[in-house]
């Protein structure tokens, strides 16, 4: 083959809350571990441009897992998952990241997450500030509410709806090919996953009354949100940042809700200085 991406994909077995999971992950680079968490519904491919960015992988060992039930990470073999309604909980999400990080021997990684991933980062900062070097959260909010999640997993609605709903959440100026790729990934998920992930984001996630306990002197927090984000507006994130003493907030002009993959060049302009800052460059 003329060209390879030099990204390596692997499968690791980890145990989370007494259940074994076969977890797919990709990695590239060397240096400070950078653990990247994808947003709801999709998988680690959202981070493919970060994985392929030599400016980042020359300083960071970038690691991107697919959460169970997402991408190449299958549901667990030992559970009769077909008898349950898939629901991502804060408890599981947190424990998964901790176990995965431990399994790969990651020494105080930087945690970078988009939307539900970003929000999860704040719990990691709150409860395990000694285990992570910094948290970079895209599209973070104190809490979000959605009246009904039923349409996201409905036998009479195809996955085209998930793609269509995501389309208008991105900035119109983001390159079309990346926006198309982004919504393709949203259409490529098992029926129950979107609703199940949204359970975490819209019902389980709530930092009310806890933000003052995040100690940014132990773990720096960077919060970034796109100008066009209709799910989590820049104002939503600014208000959250104001409640976390020492947190840095940046509005990303010209980006929308899928900032992690809708416009890699634009994201890099905001992300790179932060990653350099964390690396002490």
């Amino acid at each position: 083959m003329a060209r390879f991406d030099r990204i390596k994909g692997d499968y690791v077995y980890i145990e989370v809350q007494n259940v074994e999971y076969r977890v797919y992950f990709e990695e590239k680079g060397s240096g400070i571990p950078l653990l990247c968490q994808h947003s709801a519904v999709t998988d680690g491919q959202q981070w493919r441009h970060v994985l392929n960015d030599g400016d980042i992988t020359s300083r960071y060992r970038v690691i991107v897992p697919d959460l169970p039930y997402h991408g190449k990470s299958l549901p667990p073999e030992s559970v009769e998952w077909w008898k349950e309604e898939y629901r991502l909980t804060k408890s599981f999400f947190k424990d998964f990241i901790l176990e995965f990080s431990h399994a790969l021997g990651l020494e105080r990684p930087v945690f970078l997450g988009g939307c539900m991933g970003g929000c999860l980062g704040l719990y990691l900062a709150l409860e395990h500030p000694n285990k992570f070097k910094a948290v970079v959260g895209l599209e973070c909010v104190l809490r979000s509410e959605e009246a009904s999640l039923d349409f996201w997993d409905h036998p009479r609605i195809s996955n085209n709806f998930k793609a269509a709903a995501t389309w208008s959440l991105m900035a119109p100026g983001s390159p079309e090919k990346y926006r198309r790729e982004t919504v393709w990934k949203f259409s490529q998920s098992a029926p129950s996953v979107m609703k199940g992930d949204f359970h975490y984001f819209f019902k389980d996630h709530n930092l009310t009354g806890q933000t003052q306990d995040i100690d940014t002197s132990r773990i720096p927090i960077y919060l970034l949100t796109g100008e066009y984000d209709a799910v989590v507006s820049p104002e939503d994130t600014r208000r959250l940042a104001e409640q976390i003493k020492g947190a840095r907030f940046i509005e990303m002009k010209g980006l929308g809700h899928l900032s992690l993959c809708e416009n890699p060049e634009a994201l890099k302009r905001y992300l790179m200085p932060i990653l350099k800052d964390i690396a002490g460059v």
Partner: protein
């Protein structure tokens, strides 16, 4: 500026533009629904039969059937139809999430054909800004 789908001199052009759009044709190929569009107190119904817009009916009677409605103020429609729309007006879901438009009626059908509706909005945008 008058909203394009309420302009009797432009609706036929709009109907043709939607029907000629490849993506609309793919997304709407099983769609047979009537969609009400509301701009303040003004209304029109986009009639779709087997994926083809057969008519855009202005000022329909109050008891006309429709399966779902896309409703917004004139001010919101103005922003939704800008060639480079501002934040929170970039499409139907963005507009809905921020309360800038409402989708009322048979939500299941509206969401099943959401892609087709986004394309219809794109065609409206193109013609609005010609």
């Amino acid at each position: 500026m008058k909203v394009v789908f309420l302009d009797s001199s432009k609706v036929e052009g709009l109907r043709n533009a939607i029907n000629n759009d490849t993506e609309f044709k793919l997304a709407a190929r099983f769609m047979s629904e009537d969609v009400l569009l509301e701009v303040d107190e003004s209304r029109c119904i986009v009639k779709v039969q087997d994926g083809v817009v057969t008519e855009i009916k202005l000022n329909p009677p109050s008891d006309a059937y429709w399966s779902f409605s896309i409703k917004a103020t004139a001010e919101s429609w103005d922003k939704l139809l800008q060639s480079s729309p501002p934040p929170f007006y970039t499409g139907l879901n963005a507009g809905m999430m921020r309360g800038n438009l409402q989708i009322i009626g048979n939500m299941e059908v509206a969401f099943a054909y959401f892609w087709a509706m986004n394309r219809m909005l794109d065609m409206m945008r193109e013609l609005q800004n010609k």
